[in-house]
C-alpha cells in the first residue's frame, strides 16, 4: 500500500486542479474546499512516508502501469522515492499547504480565484512530481509544467503592468533553461538509450566522454536557471516582486528548491561527479558569487518584496556552496540550510504580504511604525529576520554554523585558497544580511509612522495561522537541530551518497554491482559540539552590556548631538545624519553611507540589472557557456 502514496499525492493534486476548474464556478466554498482538501490529503500522504523512508531506510520504487525493466533495460516511467527525494517533498508539501491556507485570506479582493487555485494545484503537483520522479524526461515535463504555472501565477494580477512584464521575462528566460535541459536529456538518451536515472547512473559509471560532458553541462545549466544561481538569477527578482505574495512564498520555498534538488540529484547520483575537485570548485565559486551579489543587491533595494527576493538568491548561494563541497558534512549543511531557507524566507514573504494587505504598499520609504498596529506580524517578522541573519537560537544560526564549519573543514583539508575565500565570503554575507534586515525592521515595523498608514489593521486570523506555524517551526528546528539532523538530514545525505542502493532498488538487486558501481567515499559527518542556548546567553550578556553602556553615557543620546563647537553631525562616524531632529531619512536609506562608499560597485551592478530581457538572456547563455566550457576543460 505504502508504495502507492507518492504517485497518489502527485496525481491527486493534478486531479484536484481540474476538479477546481470544473466545479469552481459553483460557489467559493466548494472551490476553496476542494483546493484545501486535496492539498491536505497530499500533505498527509507524504508525511506518512517519513517512517518507512527516513527512519526504516526503505527506498520506494514504482513503475507506472507495472512496466518493469525487461532484460535490465528500463522501459517504463518510474517513480523512485529515496530519503533525498522525500526530504525535498516534505519541504514542498509544507510550503504549498501553508501557502494555500494563507491565500484564503490574502486573495479576498482578487477576481478569478478559480484560475488561481487551478494553477496553484498544478504548480504544487509539478514540483512534487519533480522531486519524486526517477525518470529524466518526466523530470523535464514537470519542469515545464512548473514554468508555465509559475508564469501564469506571476501574471495573475494582470491589471498591473509589472506583473505582465515579470511574467514575460520569466517565460522567455525559463524557456531557455528548459530548452537546455531538454537538449541535455536528448543527448543522454543518445548515449544510454534509456531515460531512467538509476540506469543512466549505472551505465555512465562516473566516466565521461564528449557527449556526456556536453549533456552534463546543459542539464546543470538548465537546472541552474530553475534554482536562480547568479548569472541566471534575474527572472527571480522580478517574478518574486510582481507575483501575489502567497506565490512568492511558493517560488522561494519550492520552485527554486526544485532546481537545487535537480542539481544535487544530477551531480551526486546520476553523473556522480562530486569526487572531482573541478566540479566542486565550479559549484563553490558559483555559490559564493551568488551569495555575495544577492546580498549586495538586496542592500540597495527600496521595495520590501524585491529585497526579500535578492536575499532568497543570496541564501541559495549558501546552499549551492555547501552541496558543492562534496563532503557528507557539506551535504548535511546544504540540505539543512535549504530547509531553513524554506521556513524563514516563506515566513518573511508572508509578513510582507501581511504588510501589503494592511497598508497597500511594499515600498520601504512609505512604511514605518507598524509594530503597534500589527503586533503578531511584527513578532513573526522578527523571528524570520533573526533566523535569516543567523542569530541563535533560531534555525538560521544552526545551519549557517554547519555551512561555515563544512567550508572551513574543506579548506583545511584540501589547502585550496578558494575554499578559504568562500568561508570569508559566507561570513561577510551573513553580516550584510543582518545589516539589511536591521534596515527593513527599522523601515517597516519601527521608526517613524507614516500618517497614510494610520488606519492599518492586523491581518485576519486565517493569515496569522501560517505565519505563526512557520515562526514556531523556525524556533523548533533551531532548538532541536540534533533531532532534525538525525531523522531528516543524515538519511537524505546518505541517500545522495549511497548511489548503489538507489540503482539496485530500481533496476533489481545486484544491478549496481554488476555494472561496477561503488558508493562515493565520504567521511561521516562530524560536528564539533555547540549549543545554541550558550550562544543565546552570550548574546544576551553582550546586549545587556552594550545597553547599559549606552544608557549610562549621555554623549550618545538624542539632543546631545547638537552640542559642541565645530561639530558637524552630518559627517560624524556613527551618528551621521541631518542636524534637524525630525529630518526624514527614507527607511530604505539607513545605510546610505555604505552605498556611497561602494558607489562604483553599485553603478556597475545596477547597470547590469538593466531590466532588458535580451540582456538577461545573454547572461543566461554566457553562464551556460562558462559552465560547459569549464566542464570540457576539467572533465576531458
Amino acid at each position: 500500500m505504502i508504495q502507492h502514496f507518492p504517485v497518489m499525492a502527485v496525481m491527486l493534486l493534478f486531479l484536484g486542479a481540474f476538479l477546481v476548474a470544473i466545479f469552481g464556478r459553483i460557489s467559493p466554498v466548494i472551490r476553496d474546499g476542494i483546493a484545501i482538501l486535496i492539498a491536505t490529503i497530499s500533505l498527509v500522504l507524504i508525511y506518512a512516508l517519513i517512517k518507512p523512508v527516513m527512519i526504516d531506510g526503505q527506498i520506494i520504487s514504482y513503475w507506472m502501469g507495472n512496466w518493469e525493466p525487461v532484460e535490465g533495460y528500463a522501459i517504463g516511467i518510474g517513480y523512485e522515492v529515496d530519503a533525498l527525494g522525500l526530504f525535498f517533498a516534505l519541504l514542498v508539501v509544507t510550503t504549498f499547504w501553508l501557502s494555500g491556507i494563507y491565500s484564503l485570506g490574502y486573495l479576498k479582493k482578487d477576481a478569478n480565484k478559480m484560475h488561481y487555485y487551478t494553477l496553484y494545484l498544478m504548480l504544487s503537483a509539478s514540483v512534487l512530481g519533480l522531486v519524486l520522479t526517477g525518470d529524466l524526461f518526466n523530470m523535464f515535463i514537470m519542469i515545464e509544467i512548473m514554468t508555465f504555472a509559475s508564469v501564469a501565477l506571476t501574471a495573475f494580477r494582470n491589471k498591473q503592468a509589472i506583473a505582465l512584464e515579470a511574467a514575460f521575462k520569466y517565460l522567455v528566460l525559463g524557456s531557455i533553461g528548459s530548452s537546455m535541459t531538454l537538449a541535455g536529456v536528448a543527448l543522454m538518451y543518445r548515449v544510454c538509450h534509456t531515460l531512467n536515472m538509476a540506469q543512466i547512473s549505472s551505465i555512465i559509471g562516473g566516466e565521461f566522454n564528449l557527449t556526456t560532458i556536453m549533456a552534463f553541462g546543459l542539464i546543470v545549466a538548465g537546472l541552474g536557471v530553475k534554482s536562480y544561481i547568479v548569472p541566471f538569477h534575474t527572472p527571480a527578482a522580478d517574478a518574486y516582486t510582481a507575483a501575489p505574495t502567497s506565490i512568492s512564498m511558493i517560488f522561494s520555498g519550492m520552485v527554486n528548491k526544485a532546481g537545487v534538488y535537480g542539481i544535487i540529484r544530477m551531480v551526486y547520483v546520476v553523473f556522480r561527479a562530486m569526487d572531482r575537485s573541478s566540479i566542486q570548485i565550479l559549484l563553490v565559486v558559483f555559490g559564493a558569487v551568488t551569495m555575495f551579489i544577492g546580498v549586495t543587491m538586496a542592500l540597495a533595494q527600496h521595495d520590501f518584496k524585491r529585497l526579500l527576493a535578492f536575499h532568497s538568491i543570496s541564501q541559495i548561494g549558501y546552499v549551492i556552496t555547501a552541496i558543492g563541497l562534496g563532503t557528507a558534512l557539506g551535504l548535511n549543511a546544504g540540505l539543512f540550510h535549504a530547509m531553513n531557507h524554506t521556513l524563514f524566507k516563506g515566513l518573511l514573504f508572508l509578513t510582507a504580504g501581511a504588510v501589503l494587505t494592511a497598508t497597500g504598499t511594499t515600498n520601504l520609504d512609505k512604511l514605518g511604525g507598524l509594530s503597534k498596529r500589527m503586533p503578531v506580524t511584527t513578532v513573526c517578522f522578527l523571528v524570520g529576520a533573526f533566523s535569516i541573519s543567523g542569530l541563535p537560537p533560531f534555525n538560521g544560526f544552526a545551519s549557517k554554523w554547519m555551512v561555515y564549519q563544512a567550508i572551513y573543514t574543506k579548506a583545511v583539508e584540501s589547502g585550496n585558497i578558494l575554499f578559504a575565500i568562500a568561508t570569508i565570503t559566507a561570513l561577510i554575507v551573513s553580516v550584510m544580511t543582518l545589516a539589511s534586515f536591521i534596515k527593513v525592521t527599522q523601515a517597516v515595523f519601527f521608526g517613524q509612522e507614516n500618517p497614510e498608514n494610520a488606519n492599518a489593521k492586523e491581518v485576519p486570523v486565517i493569515m496569522q495561522i501560517p505565519m505563526v506555524i512557520m515562526a514556531v517551526l523556525c524556533v523548533l528546528t533551531g532548538l532541536f537541530y540534533n533531532v532534525v539532523e538525525k531523522f531528516l538530514l543524515a538519511p537524505a545525505a546518505g541517500a545522495a551518497l549511497g548511489v548503489s542502493n538507489y540503482i539496485d532498488k530500481m533496476m533489481g538487486a545486484g544491478y549496481a554491482k554488476a555494472a561496477g558501481i561503488t558508493d562515493i567515499e565520504a567521511a561521516p559527518a562530524a560536528f564539533s559540539f555547540w549549543n545554541p542556548l550558550v550562544w543565546l546567553l552570550l548574546f544576551v550578556v553582550v546586549f545587556l552590556g552594550v545597553y547599559i553602556v549606552m544608557a549610562t553615557s549621555k554623549s550618545t543620546r538624542g539632543r546631545m548631538l547638537e552640542g559642541g563647537e565645530g561639530y558637524d553631525p552630518k559627517y560624524a562616524t556613527f551618528f551621521s545624519g541631518e542636524q534637524e531632529e525630525f529630518s526624514q531619512v527614507g527607511g530604505s536609506d539607513l545605510f546610505w553611507g555604505f552605498k556611497t562608499d561602494w558607489k562604483g560597485y553599485y553603478k556597475v551592478l545596477q547597470g547590469l540589472h538593466s531590466g532588458i530581457v535580451t540582456d538577461y538572456a545573454s547572461y543566461i547563455v554566457m553562464g551556460a557557456a562558462i559552465i560547459i566550457l569549464v566542464m570540457f576543460i576539467c572533465l576531458r
Binding site: 504517485v7 481540474f18 502501469g65
Partner: protein, 160 residues
C-alpha cells in the same frame, strides 16, 4: 482579417468551402480518434480542433465566438483530464500500479472496451486535445479580435 478596399464581407467561395469541409474534417477527426488504441487520440484531437479555424476563416471572429462557447470548451477539457486521471486510478483499484491497463479482453460492449482502460484513456486524450486546442485557438483569435474592432472604429471615424 484584412479586407481589400470595397469588399465588406467574406467571399462566397470561402464560406462555401468552410461549410463543405467542416463536416468532413470533423468526421475524419472522429475516425482518427477512434483508432485510439494505437495512439490516434492526440492527432485526431488536433484535427478536430482545427474546425475552429475553419469556422474562423469562413465567417470571422464574431460568428466563431457565437457558435462555440469557450466556457463550455474549458469545462469539457477539465472533464477530459479528470476522466484520464480517474482511469489511471482504476489501476490502483484493481491492485496494480497507476495507469495499469485493466479490463482488457473481456468482451464488454462488443469490443468497445476490448483494449481495456488504455483505449479509453486514449479516447480521453483525444477529447482533451480537441477541447483544449480549440479553447486555445479561440483565446488566441480573441486576442486578435479587439484589434479588428479598433480598426473598424477607426475606419468609421475616418469616414465621418
Amino acid at each position: 482579417m484584412k479586407f481589400k478596399d470595397g469588399i465588406k464581407e467574406k467571399n462566397i467561395i470561402i464560406k462555401c468551402g468552410s461549410d463543405v469541409f467542416l463536416p468532413f474534417s470533423l468526421i475524419f477527426a472522429l475516425y482518427v480518434i477512434l483508432t485510439a488504441p494505437v495512439g490516434g487520440g492526440f492527432q485526431g484531437g488536433v484535427l478536430g480542433a482545427a474546425a475552429v479555424l475553419l469556422i474562423y476563416l469562413g465567417y470571422g471572429y464574431d460568428v466563431t465566438r457565437n457558435s462555440i462557447n469557450p466556457e463550455i470548451l474549458r469545462i469539457n477539457e477539465a472533464c477530459a483530464t479528470t476522466i484520464y486521471a480517474l482511469l489511471g486510478f482504476a489501476g490502483l483499484v484493481f491492485g496494480a500500479n497507476f495507469c495499469r491497463n485493466v479490463f482488457y479482453a473481456n468482451g464488454w460492449l462488443t469490443g468497445f472496451v476490448h483494449d481495456g482502460t488504455i483505449g479509453l484513456m486514449d479516447y480521453a486524450v483525444g477529447y482533451n486535445v480537441m477541447t483544449g486546442v480549440g479553447f486555445l485557438l479561440i483565446l488566441m483569435l480573441g486576442f486578435l479580435a479587439p484589434v479588428e474592432e479598433a480598426k473598424k472604429a477607426k475606419k468609421k471615424e475616418d469616414e465621418k
